[in-house]
Amino acid sequence: MNIYVLMKRTFDTEEKITISGGKINEDGAEFIINPYDEYAIEEAIQVRDEHGGEVTVVSVGTEEAEKQLRTALAMGADKAVLINTEDDVEEGDQFTTSKILAEFLKDKEVDLIIGGNVAIDGGSGQVGPRVAELLAIPYITTITKLDIEGTTATVVRDVEGDSEVIETSLPLLVTAQQGLNEPRYPSLPGIMKAKKKPLDEIELDDLDLDEDDVEAKTKTIEISLPPKKEAGKVLEGELEGQVKELVSLLHNEAKVV
């Protein structure tokens, strides 16, 4: 089976967010594999181990994503591809990323594509469905279970807490929701092996794309931090008095009840 994983390198949101020069300050920040993409990598490895085939992890980004791609290889993926857009794309959006990925994937004879359902930095969750549409293959988002038999896939999709059991067919794109699996940590032998696994780097040129083909359809004009919250009020006194005061505050001051 020919399996592709769409991976994004993301800012670890445990980091404190600061803004400088109108942008999120990335100096000294920790970068990780987007947590939902870790589920995708794990699932791809498990499907390969059960059905045979090859797992290729692909990322659109800059040279710096090599580190996260190596981690994916150390987890057990077979190959990695970095589509380096550093020189070509200044301000991309989801249109940009999905067009590049679809162009890369269109002649790869894919059976299965797995991505995270959302990236924790941008948080839009668009790229998976967009890529599937551009490749004209079915997709199911936010899945918590995947079973493949022949060319039939049975998937459990999380729908705001409810579960739908959906039958569909390969080639297929799915996006991972928490609960799909428990991503493994790279083992030491895995890390050693990863150093020898292929990590190819390509650019838009190699995909016969130029900047205009992938020009963003939306633009960010301002980034800001949420208004600082004033320190809250911790109530004091007898518990019953505190409860009465709280109810009164919520009713009369905050007016939320």
Binding site: Q126, L134, P138, S163, I166, K219, Q242, L246, A254
Partner: protein
């Protein structure tokens, strides 16, 4: 610039979801004086058209088919593309719900357009329609504009106020005949877990429990309070990991992002991943035994104490308040 904007309404258990009325309000702002057309899909949805109009849609187009009774990306995109073909709109607003998140990117890709997801506010600023959306799990916000193609947006439930319902408003509800076929996804079964009680993503009040709840039974006092306030029960990852409740209740960076008017955190320490899912709530109340708990840093009001003592008192007090109100 006046533009025609479609709003895809969402039907659940035979009624329009609240987020659809909020989406009409967002469409009205986006239309800048142009027409707002409500769109409804299902096996029998025409009767809901009147209410859609009372909330601000100028008219409604429905596509009715047995195959649209349940959402599938193929079925709904066939129906929506047919409506787009008929109406030739300049914008489309969806709810940022399981359905909207799934469908909107497909349609945007098909029409080679951008899409601004998870919008919490929009306004016209200096001739531009400017959308505000949270990034980095709500730790920052960005303002975005559309530079090319159609104007697509999904709006986060509970953030954009719906217009006041006007029962005197009338409009045309027409149906469009579309052949829905070759669906590549077949829904075999739906397992309902979350729909008991109030929908977490649309709840105005959420009572959430963490490890401090200690057991499955420990959620009972939270449920009682939520019932009295017409709210929903949520949980931290800690409570889900400990098997006190189902993962469908989880609020946080993994799990749901919620923005209710009132969030009551019970026995939740306030790990940063949890805060990412609820810190944009309007009012946060923390109840925790540990006065040093991180949750107090984001809380508007806090009670240091045992939730099993505090909650029954709180429930009783609210009951009295609401009976007298």
């Amino acid at each position: 610039m006046a533009r025609k904007v479609l709003v895809l309404g969402e039907v659940r258990e035979g009624s329009l979801r609240n987020v659809s009325f909020e989406a009409v309000a967002a469409a009205k702002t986006s239309a800048e004086g142009g027409e707002v057309v409500g769109v409804l899909f299902g096996d029998s949805v025409s009767a809901l058209g009147a209410e859609f109009i009372q909330y601000g849609a100028d008219r409604v187009v429905t596509v009715e088919d047995e195959l649209l009774k349940q959402y599938t990306s193929d079925g709904y995109s066939q129906a929506l593309l047919a409506v787009i073909d008929q109406e030739d709109p300049e914008g489309i607003i969806f709810g940022h719900t399981a359905q909207g998140k799934d469908l909107a990117p497909k349609i945007a890709a098909k029409l080679e357009s951008g899409l601004i997801s998870d919008v919490t506010d929009l306004e016209v600023e200096g001739g531009n329609l400017v959308f505000t959306r949270p990034i980095y799990s709500g730790k920052a916000f960005e303002k975005k504009i559309v530079t090319d193609g159609l104007l697509f947006a999904t709006i986060r439930p509970n953030n954009i106020a719906p217009l006041e319902k006007d029962e005197s408003r009338n409009g045309d509800v027409s149906s469009l005949s579309v052949e829905i076929k070759n669906l590549r996804q077949v829904i075999k079964e739906v397992v309902r877990k979350a729909t008991e009680g109030v929908d977490l993503s649309e709840a105005k009040v959420i009572v959430a429990g963490g490890r401090g709840v200690k057991s499955e039974e420990g959620f009972e006092p939270l449920k009682e309070l939520a019932d009295v306030l017409g709210g929903a029960v949520g949980a931290s990852r800690g409570a889900c990991d400990a098997d006190y409740c189902d993962y469908s209740l989880q609020i946080g960076q993994t799990g749901k992002v919620v923005t209710p008017d009132l969030y009551i955190a019970c026995g939740i320490s306030g790990a940063i991943q949890h805060l990412a899912g609820m810190s944009n709530s309007k009012i946060i109340v923390a109840i925790n035994k540990d006065p040093e708990a991180n949750i107090f840093k984001v809380a508007d009001y806090g009670i240091v104490g045992d939730l099993f003592e505090v909650l029954p008192l709180l429930t009783k007090e609210f009951k009295e308040l609401l009976v007298n109100a």
